[in-house]
């Protein structure tokens, strides 16, 4: 990202996945680096298992909301949640997705179907410029704590080289903003995903 450009990153997932924590870490990393940043989040229902979105825009922008089709990177924590925001993606969008489903109660109680993973991925590929998907939950568990999914997903973002700061800067901000006894496990998950996604780009 050069000085006169902006980058639009959208986070999407489900309440309880730590999306607002992860997006806030990214925002602080941008600010600490001296990059102008505007963020918007959806509060209120997060605790109760609803959809959660956060928009982060870095660079010379005023509005914290990303226009339709203008997302550069969509960081999705849950497959069907990706479908909900596809109008914000276009050819220029790279979708990075955790493909571990979290079934809404409408599905788990048998009221609505959950589309197949093939169907979801095909639809994403039809809209976006690219899709990288992997199971972030498995990696987080392997790293030592299933709750590090959010920081692990930041590793995927860092792998794209699209951020205005380097990986070390982001690692530093993560260590400052997660509880001390969880720093190592979070960074481990971050690094594991970083390596994995780098291999796929």
């Amino acid at each position: 990202m050069s000085d006169d450009q902006s980058i639009n990153i959208m986070f999407i997932g489900v309440g309880g996945q730590g999306i607002l924590t992860a997006s806030t870490i990214l925002g602080h990393a941008a600010l600490a680096h001296g990059t102008k940043v505007a963020m918007s989040e959806v509060h209120g229902m997060a605790q109760r298992g609803g959809s959660v979105t956060a928009n982060i825009r870095m660079g010379d922008v005023h509005s914290p909301l990303i226009p339709a089709g203008e997302t550069d990177i969509l960081l999705s924590f849950e497959p069907v949640e990706t479908l909900r925001v596809l109008e914000y993606t276009s050819d220029k969008t790279l979708v990075i997705m955790n493909d571990e489903p979290i079934y809404p109660f409408t599905v788990s109680l048998g009221q609505e179907p959950y589309p197949s993973m093939d169907e979801i991925k095909a639809e994403i590929e039809r809209h976006a410029g690219g899709l990288i998907s992997f199971n972030a939950l498995d990696i987080a568990k392997e790293a030592g704590n299933s709750l590090t999914v959010n920081v692990a997903m930041l590793g995927a973002l860092a792998a794209t080289d699209k951020l205005p700061f380097d990986v070390e800067h982001l690692r530093k901000v993560i260590s400052e903003r997660v509880p001390e006894r969880f720093i190592d496990v979070n960074l481990k998950a971050f690094d594991m995903v970083l390596e994995k996604v780098k291999g796929e780009l």
Binding site: V14, G15, G16, G18, T21, T24, G27, H28, L31, K36, V37, A38, M39, S40, E41, V42, H43, G44, M45, Q47, R48, G49, G50, S51, V61, H62, S63, P64, L65, I66, P67, A68, G69, V80, E81, L83, R84, L86, E87, S90, Y103, P104, F105, T106, V107, S108, L109, Q111, E112, P113, Y114, P115, I120, E123, N145, L147, T148, V178, R181, F182
Partner: protein, 642 residues
């Protein structure tokens, strides 16, 4: 990097605010959370008041006496406070006072989309509207000075996309606070008998003139020029305010049209000269504002009085919607249509594969689900359900479906009285503890005195859960975290002289159902207080114990697939897999209510080991067949990572 709400609290601290009051309501809630954290350290008095009207009155008392106060609330909260609000403006204040109304276009977490800018016209109160957290901080900081200068409160009107936006904020020194001083009497100003009311109205109109002059030269009202092609050679003026400004300045450069933007931060009184002069030099004006055409009608008025006949585009031509929030796309489309531009808008389209809906729901272990199930069973689903405002409104969802009406805070008690008179059916009102204190009490007294006949279920989960677990008068802690006297709702209700008052634990399903049955049979008002702590707080405490949370599971050998648990109770930790019904071990919070719903005793407590039932499960820890597996680490770590 501050949240808009944090920036508001910071601005107040920089202005040396002495007193801050509120009743929690999204999207304003985090302002209170921030004062709860910083108040004591900075010497700012902060309280969660019983409702918004009381919050405004407490703040008003302090500002009449000369201190600086901030009263903040969500938009519908200002309806509650409106009686005090409108008359207070006629009296004015001695110490600076800011009243914040957090509007919620798109009703993300509200019962309506009302545009509270009209309160500025109704009460004739000067109003500021910020676009960014930085501007919000500055408007609060400077707003206190302006308020003191004119001796009148200022209204700060925000919207969700200001309150819940994060952005960089430049900090300034914290301001000094005032010492209490003796009250200076001035009954001809502060005692609004009719004579005084007639004296104060001309004062208010004079103050409006001064405020308008302030607006003409306000740093919050400014022009910005955008270079590009003039459409059809026309001079274009865009007048905008609040967060709409952000969208305008983002889309104009990429559209490449030449335009002058007038950003109005002080939106009452409007700077009429500034607007009129700009209109006089313009061929086409576009008004970009969310919700109602608040500025638009006033701009047309200014143009008419100046004899200007330019085109003024806005809501009147339906170029911009009066519903929901704006975003860059809506604003771009509106400008394109207003100027009849031939501009290709970005092509994007939603998913054709349908995503299953993911509505919010009552949490696993939520005591409200148990209360609803018990009440519904007790009346055989024959009652009319008057619902109130809180997490428990989600009782609306299937399979519970226990909401027939919901108007506003505290309304269920009054509405239940009307429903019982009009239907002759059994009626039950569901109200939370905090909402009961907020505005349920006068309606209950009314119901008693006027011999209404319904059941009042007070769902006492020992907190204001929906907005983030704030304190209320039933909790022995105040908003600053200090010990405080607490009221027992049962004592309070008995004190009114109601003869049927019973306290139940909704986790005990059978006794709770029996109590509701007797309540429905009772003539007159019957009060059932369902008391059990919010599951999120219970879970937090349980995770700190050595045992952690011990979930339940369904013994598939004993399950007869009757689906009572998923079909009637519907806890979200339950799920269907083929023919089988299972319990998600990560979600289950171990309340055990579903095991009481199951007619066949197939739902049992697990041993608590990470991979679910290990085959050595037990109902009550007896010691002999306890599992020795290590406790689930996931459950232990959960709270910290969130």
């Amino acid at each position: 990097m501050l949240l808009g709400n944090e920036a508001v609290a910071r601005g107040a601290a920089e202005a040396g605010v002495d007193i801050a009051t509120t009743y929690p309501g999204t999207p304003s809630s985090e302002i209170g959370t921030t004062f709860g954290h910083i108040g004591k350290e900075l010497g700012i008095y902060f309280e969660y008041s019983t409702n918004e009207k009381v919050a405004l009155e407490v703040a008003a008392g302090a500002s009449i006496a000369g201190m600086r106060s901030l009263a903040f609330m969500k938009h519908v909260g200002l309806n509650v406070a409106a009686d005090a609000f409108v008359t207070l403006i006629t009296m004015g204040v001695r110490g600076g006072m800011i009243i914040l109304s957090a509007d919620d276009p798109a009703a993300h977490s509200s019962q309506n989309e009302q545009d509270n800018r009209f309160y500025a016209l109704l009460a004739n109160v000067p109003m500021l509207e910020p676009a960014t957290p930085q501007e919000a901080k500055e408007m609060v900081r400077i707003g206190f000075d302006l308020s003191e200068e004119l001796e009148i409160p200022f209204l700060l009107r925000t919207t969700t996309r200001l309150n819940h936006v994060r952005g960089p904020v430049e900090l300034k020194e914290l301001g000094p606070r005032r010492e209490p001083k003796e009250f200076e009497r001035d009954p001809f100003r502060f005692v609004t008998v009719p004579l005084v009311a007639r004296l104060r109205h001309p004062w208010l109109l004079e103050t409006e003139k001064k405020a308008r002059e302030m607006s003409e030269s306000s740093e919050f009202n400014f022009f910005q020029d955008f270079e590009g092609d003039a459409p059809d050679g026309k001079k274009v003026l865009i007048i905008t305010s609040g967060v709409s400004y952000n969208y305008v300045v983002d889309v104009l450069p990429e559209m490449g049209i030449a335009a002058k933007v007038l950003k109005i931060g002080m939106t009452h009184p409007l700077p009429e000269r500034m607007i009129g002069d700009a209109l006089a030099e313009t061929d086409t004006a576009i008004i970009v504002e969310e919700l109602e055409p608040y500025m638009e009608v006033q701009v047309r008025d200014i143009a008419q009085r100046r004899g200007l006949t330019l085109e003024i585009h806005g809501k009147a031509q339906e170029l911009f919607p009066r519903i929901l929030e704006f975003n860059p796309d809506v604003v771009k489309q509106g400008i394109v249509d207003a100027l009849e531009l031939k501009l290709a808008l970005t092509k994007s389209y939603p998913s054709e594969v349908k995503a299953p809906s993911r509505p919010p729901n009552l949490c696993p272990g939520c005591p409200h689900r148990a209360s609803f199930y018990a009440a519904k069973t007790a009346c055989n689903d024959s009652a009319v359900y008057a619902m109130d405002i809180g997490c428990y409104t989600l009782g609306l969802l299937p399979p519970l479906r226990v909401a027939d009406t919901e108007v506003c805070m505290g309304s269920s008690v009054g509405v239940a009285g009307g429903l019982s008179k009009a239907t002759g059916q059994k009626v039950i009102s569901f109200i939370g503890d905090s909402t009961f204190f907020h505005s349920g009490i006068p309606a209950l007294i009314n119901a008693l005195h006027n011999k209404h006949d319904f059941v009042l279920a007070i769902l006492d989960n020992r907190t204001t859960a929906m907005t983030g677990h704030q304190s209320h008068p039933g909790i022995p802690l105040d908003g600053m975290g200090d010990p405080a006297p607490s009221l027992d709702i049962a004592d309070l209700v008995r004190g009114l002289g109601i003869d049927f008052v019973e306290v139940v634990d909704p986790y005990e399903l059978e006794p709770t159902t029996d109590t509701f049955k007797r309540a429905f049979e009772h003539e007159g008002i019957a009060v059932v207080i369902a008391r059990q702590t919010c599951a999120l707080l219970l879970d937090k405490a349980a995770r700190k114990t050595p045992e952690g949370i011990i979930p339940y599971f369904i013994d598939q050998d004993e399950c007869r697939k009757c689906r009572m648990c998923v079909g009637k109770f519907g806890c979200i930790a339950l799920y269907v897999e083929g023919e089988d019904i299972m319990i998600n071990q990560q979600l289950c919070d171990g309340c055990g209510v579903c095991s009481q719903v199951c007619p066949f005793g197939a739902i049992k407590r697990t041993c608590g080991c990470p991979d679910g039932p290990c085959g050595v499960h037990y109902d009550e820890p007896s010691g002999e067949d306890e599992c020795t597996e290590p406790l689930c680490e996931v459950a232990e770590g959960k709270e910290v990572a969130e």
